[in-house]
Amino acid sequence: MSDKTLTRMDLSEAVFREVGLSRNESSELVERVLALMSDSLVDGEQVKISSFGTFSVRAKAARVGRNPKTGEEVPIEPRRVLTFRPSHLMKERVAAGNRR
């Protein structure tokens, strides 16, 4: 494991390298991909990327939570959360790549 952190910059660098557009346009395109995915999720849609994984939005009901420090009860409002379910292929590749 190399324990590095990649950012948008690394993704746009990969697009620049693979597709040969300018660095500027590559980074704008990465931004648009993330924005299109986000917009679709905010609309409540599922985003299903074959051989990568599925992002879905789930509605969580209101519940009574507790402040673990004080023991005090706090209401937790109903909310929407995003879950990511990796594809089999991704799970296999991540497991294989990190095997000692």
């Binding site: 324990d3 952190t5 990649l6 697009v15 990327i49 992002f55 990796p86 991540v94």
Partner: protein, 93 residues
Amino acid sequence: MIRSELIQKLADENPHLYQRDVERIVNTIFEEITDAMSRGDRVELRGFGAFSVKKRDARTGRNPRTGEAVEVEEKHVPFFKTGKLLRDRLNGK
């Protein structure tokens, strides 16, 4: 939305690009994220979320049908944490 619809939307926004290049752009992004995680790296996309790898310790599992004990080896699994901006947007903030 599925991969091909994402490609189509991006193509519609960028009529000056060839369809095949738009496909390569989208595929490269997901490929790069999976590659990073297979090396054990994190991918942090501010506002969207972060992909990381979590280690699952070896454990003794059980075959639910027969009740037989099975050794499960240590393994690494992909993990995604939603970014703050997207989490807030999902809740109309």
